[in-house]
Subunit: 436 residues, 2 copies
């Protein structure tokens, strides 16, 4: 921990996925991209820290520029100093007296903060020679609490409440670890039902996923409702009554429209409806949650979080009883520290964490968060699943591994966020060979 | 209206205001800056469109880059096409299938959209040879309604409700115009009580402002509470019991902290408490609003909006009865079209509009919005005031003019958003003479 960060290097890495229709939904059609950050230290042959935020193609140059704008808060810091005063470090990024204006704590500047903060945690875990989930799960309660900024969420959770949750998390820790190391962590697949896929492709992919062992699958909705109904029927036919079917509207509906459409889609017994309306609409989500609960006889809940801007939005979603599933994203909010605050609030409010993944490297990131949550905070697998999308893992040094619809526990030191040098060079935008 | 936009030029303009302590508050200390956009057309010697978004210094390069990322949606468009399908044009910017991810509809990308959309409205008003307020106030109801994207706010206001409000706004239109042309539009000053100012400067500035005719003044709070109390006492002593004193915490408090601090500050009879907590915290604002109403016997209300990310946040603030004053900003949300939606919701929910100003050029912008609201939507001056800060007006071709604490009605064609070429060159960052 005696190393000092001497430089921040940022790479604009983009994968040309838009043409294939992969990842298409009601509002996005992207070239999956990463604003990829490397922290260089004075530690000689020691590790570099790797972090990134995920974007959808155009705009990745903005998050890259935001990393450069924030880098002066990181360069020159020693890891010892960051570990000693984690919130002071975190706030140097999130509360910069000038940059804060172009957020605050949201969008481009906050996503860039997430890339940097995650890179710091990756570096720390590599220096400790532990995978991030283990580093976090083994930290003393006091240190975890000290890593969370309770500013603006103290009306929902206090440091004392967080400490009590984390202390209790030590009970049964090793049994849970043995369990997850043996059986893996539950997941679900989103690869079967993108809006860009024709019906026969949806049917074939669903059948294949079921054969591979997946018993929870997510489809995109938010197209013309008759099309959504038809595709839901295909998938439900293929997976039978017992497997879970989740639906994701990617924010395209208005509040009343969401309720009206769910009145038709409940026929297919959805386990959740994800992003039924605008990501900022806490009150709208709360209304929809009450409506779908009634429509489904309590079987369907509302899920959201992948586009929730920060811990204050998550706080309200929980205070308003607007979500039954909390879909943290590892790099839209400001990195591990802010994710910790959301995981702790979710535990207090009794909302299961089902992280958002897919994109580039999101599966690699969130497996650590889900396992930490299981070991030390949520302490249950009930209703917990990590999203899984089988895209772009080959570009990572320590890619996710799955077996029978479950994530295997990562063992390499760090946050699994290190991208292969060759991939960075090949997909560098706009000058890499893939884009020339 | 036959012109076509042929180029978007963007300038990073920054004024070195941080050193003076002007504009300092609980969380910001900025070099007031503009991401300044010029729309060039094929109209020969005809006007160019001018728009900008305001930032606080560092980060202005990000909003400039975001304008460049969005510009392809604007270049090549004819004004006739934009006027014929205003929401289609607006959504081309706000719902870009790749750029949306780095918002959505918030922060850097949304502010850049605001600069571009406002530049289009400035161009339109110049082509029509009308000040923007008049262009808007004279538009047929159907055309105003057609300019608003009701997506994600239809649970709060429908197109029919908006039309009814705008139709009713024609009644008494010319009497209100005569009144405001004669007497000006009410305003208040924020120049007396920045946190960076020592007590004697606060007292002297308050006395001077009172002598100049101001009967409504705003102070910053959010420092140590004893300091806030002391400065509130100074200002209230100077202005007497009848003048209005507003307080602005710039989001620094937690929810319970805001309520506790207001229990002390109500002694000085604040007219409103502005930004008492995090800008995204709708439920927190609602709790604070109920508390200060009780604490003040109904005399104090909550105000916010300058950092509200978009119409969905404003919608919820109104649905939750969280604000008694709606402080629209002209360029944080996506320009005139989105501001129209907020003004219409405010009318429906009975919340007076008191626009946020100051910074660079915000006074120039919002006077048009306030006057339009008065003439055609809110139709009352009751509780309406435009913020006024006496900074940086000299850099505008058509600067605001005030008399006795009131804005005089602007008469030049356009949105008063055109900056002097000399100022743009002199304060260009980082290469202008002011920064070299």
């Amino acid at each position: 921990m005696t190393v000092t960060i001497t430089a921040v290097e940022v790479h604009d890495v983009r994968f040309p996925t838009a043409a294939a229709g992969d990842g298409s939904d009601a509002i996005n059609r992207g070239d999956y991209s990463a604003t990829y950050v490397e922290l260089v230290t004075d530690g000689g042959a020691g590790p570099t820290g790797a972090g990134f935020t995920f974007t959808n193609g155009r705009g990745n140059e903005l998050t890259c520029a935001a990393v450069r704008a924030l880098a002066h808060h990181v360069v020159g810091r020693s890891m010892a100093e960051i570990v000693a005063e984690p919130v002071a470090f975190w706030r140097s990024l999130t509360a910069d007296v000038q940059l804060r204006w172009v957020g605050p704590e949201k969008g481009v500047i906050h996503m860039a903060t997430g890339a940097l903060v995650n890179a710091v945690w990756d570096l720390r875990a590599k220096l400790d020679q532990k995978p991030l989930w283990r580093l976090l799960a083994e930290l003393p309660t006091e240190e975890l609490v000290r890593s969370v900024d309770f500013h603006h969420i103290s009306d929902a959770i206090t440091a004392d409440e967080a400490a009590a949750i984390l202390d209790k998390g030590f009970v049964g820790w090793s049994e849970r670890l043995a369990q997850v190391e043996q059986s893996g962590f539950p997941s679900y697949t989103t690869s079967v039902g993108w809006l860009g896929y024709p019906d026969d492709k949806v049917r074939a992919l669903t059948r294949q996923a079921y054969a591979e062992g997946w018993r929870a699958m997510k489809m995109k909705v938010g197209g013309p409702i008759d099309d959504d109904v038809r595709r839901a029927r295909i998938i439900r036919e293929e997976i039978g009554p017992d497997a879970l079917l989740m639906m994701d509207a990617n924010q395209v509906w208005d509040v009343d429209e969401a309720i009206a459409n769910m009145a038709r889609l409940v026929e297919f017994d959805p386990y959740w409806i994800e992003e039924p309306t605008h990501a900022d609409d806490v009150l709208g989500h709360a209304r929809i949650a009450r409506a779908v609960e009634t429509l489904s006889g309590g079987r369907c809940r509302v899920a959201t979080g992948e586009v929730a801007a920060n811990r204050v939005i998550f706080k309200q979603l929980m205070q308003a009883d607007a979500i039954g599933v909390c879909q943290i994203d590892a790099c839209r909010i400001a990195g591990v520290n802010e994710v910790l605050s959301v995981i702790l609030m979710a535990a207090k409010f009794g909302v299961p964490i089902c992280p958002h993944a897919g994109g580039v490297g999101l599966c690699e990131y969130v497996q650590h968060l889900a396992i930490f949550d299981y070991l030390r905070v949520g302490t249950s697998l009930d209703g917990r699943m990590v999203e899984y999308v089988d895209h772009l893992h080959e570009h990572f040094v320590d890619p996710v591994r799955t077996r029978g619809g479950r994530y295997l526990v990562p063992t390499a030191p760090g946050y699994s966020s290190t991208m292969k040098a060759d991939s960075i060079a090949r997909f560098a935008f706009p000058d890499g060979p893939a884009w020339r």
